[in-house]
Symmetry: C2
DNA sequence: TCTAACCTTCACGTTCGCGTCAAGGTGAAG
DNA sequence: CTTCACCTTGACGCGAACGTGAAGGTTAGA
């Protein structure tokens, strides 16, 4: 009967976090230094201790960097907005003045919309590039089929651009 | 007796190209140094002269860097494939051996497919992030409407994430 | 021809995103 | 208490992607 532990969230040390996320310890510390990470819990002797939220956050950061190609500064903006959102929530609750509440919300809305615009520009670029690549692929497949079928058309890709 | 110039494609100097593409002169030279740019034409006195193809190429590079977040090395790969494609076309035409032709095409196909996979992973990430952002936006809009309508629901965002 | 604006090639400086020691404190096991 | 793996904070180094002169040639116009 091991007195079931009620809310000990199982904190991890940096090496385990590194193994878990695929990041290096250096990177993790650097991200904290750059303010991308809420100063995680610390042990008595100043060991960094991470919870599952930190893991998620780190994975998010890694994704943004590796897959989306954002700089840490940009990631900082994106994450900052999440924290700002939290604080806005408190501010929001701290006042009952509809005007101020509306202002807070309007601010947040603006930020999010700029984020979306930025992300969508990126996505559109990517979509264009993917379209190009797929057209090339289709073309190559056509040629390959021709060759494999013994055909030998001189048509040479037509509109090469 | 200026024998009417039939095909003078209006060459630009680096400063004009910079203004046109939004890049700096330094970046343009650097891209050439890194082999991303075919050594454009040179004037008598070694001035770099760019044509519209160069402009397109530079815009493409800028797009890949700024919007898609690729490194110059990665861009080099992507561009190299385009040139490889050109050369493969010649190789392809140089031989009549179906096996070799198929090999050339298969090679090109592989490259393109890897490119597509890379790009799509990126796009999926972006799509996820955009979804998140849009959900946040919808939420904020709902709140804002509530406040502007004089409502004051305590519901507080419900499922916070 | 002369000048002002433009260009060239070095070449060193800078920021970002870490890698890599160095010198020491921490923590759990035995 | 000792040991050893693990952690800490500096601090220097490095490659990428340029910025920023310096020193000098080029071009086009008055």
């Amino acid at each position: 009967m091991s007195h079931d532990a009620p809310a000990i969230p199982k904190l991890l040390r940096i090496q385990e976090v590194a193994a878990e996320t695929g990041l290096t310890m250096r990177s993790i510390r650097y991200y904290e230094e750059m303010g991308l990470l809420a100063p995680a819990a610390r042990s008595e002797g100043a060991y960094r201790l991470f919870d599952t939220d930190d893991l998620e956050r780190l994975r998010f950061i890694a994704g943004l960097r590796n897959d989306a190609g954002f700089s840490l500064a940009e990631i900082g903006q994106l994450l900052e907005d999440e924290q700002t959102r939290q604080r806005n929530r408190e501010r929001f609750r701290a006042t009952a003045d509809p005007a101020e509440r509306a202002a807070v919300l309007g601010d947040a809305l603006e930020r999010v919309e700029r984020q979306i615009a930025t992300l969508e520009r990126k996505r559109e670029r990517l979509a264009d590039m993917i379209d190009d690549a797929q057209r090339r692929r289709a073309h190559l497949r056509g040629h390959l089929e021709d060759v494999l079928a013994g055909r030998d058309p001189q048509h040479d890709t037509a509109g090469e651009r």
